[in-house]
């Protein structure tokens, strides 16, 4: 793979009320930022599960951003406070088992901080670019299951492992 032309793949989990709206504002303000980051909208930063991040890495993401409302600004009063505790832990855990802290980044971006959103995305993209592709994780994919093409030549059909078993409870 040509490292020069490599573009990182970044997932951003953002809350509907602050950061998503902040991203909208970045758009209406015509601010420019790299196109590597794709947003997955959830209702509140409190509803983002750490497994989502692992799933993103499994699906070939090189970095993940999690963003919500500033403390005390949560649309649901306290969702982001619970999230903050959760991420503090998860971040330390990932760091301990060898995933650099820069791979998973966090921010509080309010609905009025379009500029901040653009800056954060730019910074995260640059950070991840500097770190290079997350080959360590991707290798785990390639060694056992499907081959993940490093640079898809044609946009592939999304594949999503769905267990055909019905839930048995």
């Amino acid at each position: 793979m040509d490292k020069q032309n490599w573009e990182p793949k970044i997932a951003a989990f953002v809350c509907n009320w602050c950061t998503y709206t902040g991203a909208d504002l970045a758009g209406t303000s015509r601010l420019k930022y790299p196109a590597n980051c794709k947003i997955i909208r959830v209702m509140c930063s409190g509803s983002i599960d750490p497994v989502f991040i692992l799933k993103a890495f499994e699906r070939g993401a090189d970095g993940v951003l999690v963003s919500g409302c500033h403390p005390n600004d949560c649309h649901y009063n306290a969702g982001n406070f619970h999230a903050r505790r959760r991420w503090d832990f998860f971040h330390e855990l990932l760091d301990f088992i060898g995933i650099e802290k820069g791979r998973l980044q966090f921010s509080w971006i309010s609905a009025s901080e379009g500029k901040k959103f653009a800056d954060v995305i730019t910074k995260v993209t640059e950070d991840i670019k500097a770190m290079g592709p997350f080959t360590a994780y991707k290798k785990m994919n390639s060694e056992f299951t499907i081959d993940f093409p490093e640079e898809p030549s044609e946009l592939p059909e999304p594949e999503f492992q769905e267990n055909s078993d019905k839930e048995t409870e």
Partner: protein, 665 residues
Amino acid sequence: MKIGVFICHCGENISSTVDCPRVADVCRTYTGVEYSVDYKYMCSDPGQNLIKDAIHKYNLDAIVVGSCSPHMHERTFRNAAVSAGINPFMVEIANLREHCSWVHDNIEAATRKAIELMRMAIEKVKRDKPLTKIKVPITKRVLVIGGGIAGIQAALDTANAGYEVVLVEKEPSIGGHMSQLSETFPTLDCSQCILTPRMVEVHQHPKIKLMTYSEVERVEGFIGNFKVTIKKKARHINEDKCSGCGMCITKCPIKKKAYNSFEEDLAFRPAVYVPFPQAIPNIPVIDETVCTYYKTGKCGMCVKVCDREAIDFGQKDTIHVADVGAIIVATGFKLYNIDKKSADSKYKGYGEYGYGKYRDVIDGLQFERIASASGPTSGEIKRPSDGRVPKKIAFIQCVGSRDDSKGISYCSKICCMYTAKQAMLYRHKVHDGEAYIFYMDIRAGGKMYEEFVRRAIEEDKVKYIRGRVSRIYEEDGKYIVKGEDTLAGMPVEIDADMVVLATAMIPQDGAESLARTIGIPYDKYGFFNEAHPKLRPVESTTAGVFLAGACQSPKDIPESVSMASAAASKAIILFANDTLEREPVVAKVNEDICAGCFYCMKVCPFGAVEVKDVKDINGIVYKEVAYINQGVCQGCGTCTATCLSKSIELAGFNNEEIFAEIAAL
């Protein structure tokens, strides 16, 4: 599943950096996509028609629109989908404008990203489930807590709109603090004169059920369906029989054992009393703590004089239950007490002003009573200690307010105005009297307010001194007020005959426990929190509970009244429908696998999680699981992420959908 994909050019807003036809072409190749098209303005009428026609023509089950932010047009496209016969929650929006075309320059990169965003939305929509809005029936009755001016206004407005009202007041009469005031700023009209007709109106209104001397004990349920338990305290007077003649009051031999709290402890009241002559309802209350009958079993003077046989010593507290659809909280305020002992532990007293030991150092409400024509001095300004007419009064503002060291950082907002009014009233009544006002800033924002303060200074020659008072001493029956004129840079000492302290407004007693009973948040002082400081100032964060008046923050009468009307109209808006429709984005527990750790209950900001017993075939409870009340849940999903066994799913954003999005990254 048949999916339709619609890519909007948004004029050139999207198409200038995103190759829309190419996006549509690529989307067409994805499994499940039956139809894919791009169009100049999807949100326009022809655009919407395009969608509707496609739905009909291709029998689509779900659609994905690549357009502007869902915050802009999600509703438009959902409505279009509904009118074409598919569920509104089978519509996904990919944000190709704000999140893509507007923020990127490179056409290739932007187009790629647009395709990926579409891909994520398509994967999500495949897993979307049709949802129906949650319908909750509404009990069209309002509970108003607090019978001050805010509560009265809210009750009258709601009742006049044709809805039933239960008005609960903890004192024996409605009227609140406004009934205690002498005159009101900035018009100097008599407070009683404007209030009393409203009180009577409440009493006579067929839609209002007035419950005085009562308190709210419990609140269960949720918006549209609250169940309220109210304790009616025993008056020891049969309300149906009593005619309000007042014979019992005049004949009661206990005259000087209890302070009259309506007169702010400046006078006494008998053991059987009405708080004030214009009380509504005009039915007395027997105070068990001082009544001789309750001490010795003798006396019974009131029984003898009552020709209606209304005295009932054996009366007990009664419990009433009311079903209501909305609650308006209007519990108002009380004044901070400078006393060392009676001041709440949260606040410290004012030792430098004597901790209330000086009898002629009084607070604003006491001065109102002294200045009131119906007050203990019949409106003559006299000193409580010796009844002399004070020739010099020092008014001190911000006592407690804006004072971090005493525990209150906020501005009580109304003191500037009422102090000016009181000084003015004093100067009108005692022509040779001198009035000094110690202030920090004058906050006179309001119609005719600044003019009013200037009038006090210019016409009534009230002397304003900018500076806080450090100490008050008593010397030879005079009160030495030590201050500093910070504008002149000179120390000031005034030998006043009387000192009036504009003490801070703090929440009414029991505000915090009431808030916990209802389940609404409050700030560190005990003022109830509004849902949004700008856009939802009269709603609490608990749906169906509205706030009115000074229980939310210090307020004057016009503000309280307008807030009360706003709260009433919020309730009326709620009642305009027979059932309540809510976005179906709520969490649901899979009871079979819930382990009952109740972490969800701990994290839920709305208290929507309840304990549910799961019973076996024999009806024996074998486990406890979480149950989420759909009426209360606001759909944040914090519980879903906290749940360790993943037994909770948030409708509309369930984990399957999000995993699909991640997979399609």
